[in-house]
Amino acid sequence: MNIKSINKAAVLDNLDNVRAMIKRHKRNDILFTSIGLLAVMFGLLTLLTLFIDLVMDGYPRFNLQFFSDFPSRRAGSAGLLSAWVGSLLVMFVTFLTAVPMGVAAGLYLEEYAPKNWFSDLIEINVSNLAGVPSIIYGLLALGLFVYGFGFGQSILTAGMTLGLLILPIVIVSTRESIRAIPIAIREAAYAVGATKWQVVKDHVVKYSQGGILTGVIIGMSRALGETAPIITIGALTFIAFLPPSPVTLEPPFLNFEWLTSSFTVLPIQMFNWLSRPDHAFHVNAAATGAIIIVVTLLMNGTAIWLRYKIRKNIKW
């Protein structure tokens, strides 16, 4: 068909042919929709199968006692108490490490750093950090935090290690949400006479909060399941006591001894139970696995909800 023949009349004359052609072309839509759906279902079903399997194996242990018991030599009375308390405290330190450092680094790179080869180098390194295997972070922490700084095999060391591990995630999400702020809004702020710091504190940080928070939560949910670096720094697998409480009844009401306490976390407890020959312990491990997945999903769900809630008021 040459160009001249493509006109209104051409379609009219060949109506059947044209309809057949449209039908043929639309077949590709159906084809791709099926492939895409298949790809999505593959990931989803794998996770679902895993989860259901864990729940079915572990369901005898889903009771309050499981959360309030220390580990024990008898599988039936072994519980997660020291592990979930440990995870909670480690996550707290991780949060305090990763958020200020990650947000400050992201803000600096995006707002203050001059654009030259040095900032390019930093940028490449930050992206590379995200790809470093987590066990390497464990080795670094073992050398630096455990021996170098003398923090020992403590909650502080573990929290800081995981904080470093998720630092790239926080930095990248900070930078991305900062970049989403339109230039017009910045210029508006500068135009009334704001300094750079005023623009950063009154606008940039405020409007990127949602994105930063999302990145932090997703990073934390990753840190929650990390095992390799924690094993490397030497977390104990059998802990039948709780770290000293961070809050006390007597003044000054705060206690920092827990930071140097030895600890265990959920994935390590799971790993420990899994490595026992006695099958009864495997039930405990499955239950722990299911709990880790549920907590992770809850955290990611919270991240999505928060992002939606905060972005609702910001339209650009």
């Binding site: 809004i185 009334v192 006479g193 009154d202």
Partner: protein, 259 residues
Amino acid sequence: MINPTTPIKAESRDLNFFYSNGTRALKGITMPLYENKITALIGPSGCGKSTFLRCFNRMHDLYPGNKYQGQIIMHPDNTNILENGVDPIEVRMRISMVFQKPNPFPKSIYENVAYGLRVRGENNKRLLDDKVEEALKGAALWNEVKDRLQDLAFNLSGGQQQRLCIARALATDPEIMLFDEPTSALDPIATANIEELMSELRSKLTILVVTHNMQQAARISDYTAYMYLGELIEYDDTDTIFTRPSRKETEDYITGKFG
């Protein structure tokens, strides 16, 4: 004809401007801004009118590598606002700006207007309340928003948002207000409102407005400058420019033969 006794608020003297990629966007522009008058900049896209306007509040300083050459003198203090020793923040505190697209902050109506005062360290609630009210009245928006000052600025219509941006620029009592195609994103009714507002603002301050709408320049401005390819082709009072331009290029542009 230009009345020689009208006081000059600011003037550019042999102003050149270079973008970081080396482009020379302004070529030796010498032009006055008369006090309490509206000066309009017209010309085809890319002729440098916005570049020229943004020199007045040193907006180009936000992006590294841009370079000014020449002077913009503010009167009566004879400060060259392009001089290295003059902080752009100080300049922006004297000369405020309204942008092409309404760009309110994602904050409340009140906070949008109060922001210029907040960055100056003003936290006195009573004073802020008064200033916000005064600015919103000055921008002809008060009656529409007085009962919902804590509402989000995004909930206003486009024309209201632009008047809010004018109120924000007005709240700090600037000496000069820059308008960069302030109505190009608005419908005709909102445009008429903004134009009327600009005419009223003239009694308080000096206005420089970029517009690609020649009728708008003819309607609202006292003086008009025609720019082309970074050069100032002709500057005169608006009547003269639109009825008896002295340059052929100006006449061609105004009559629509070109541009």
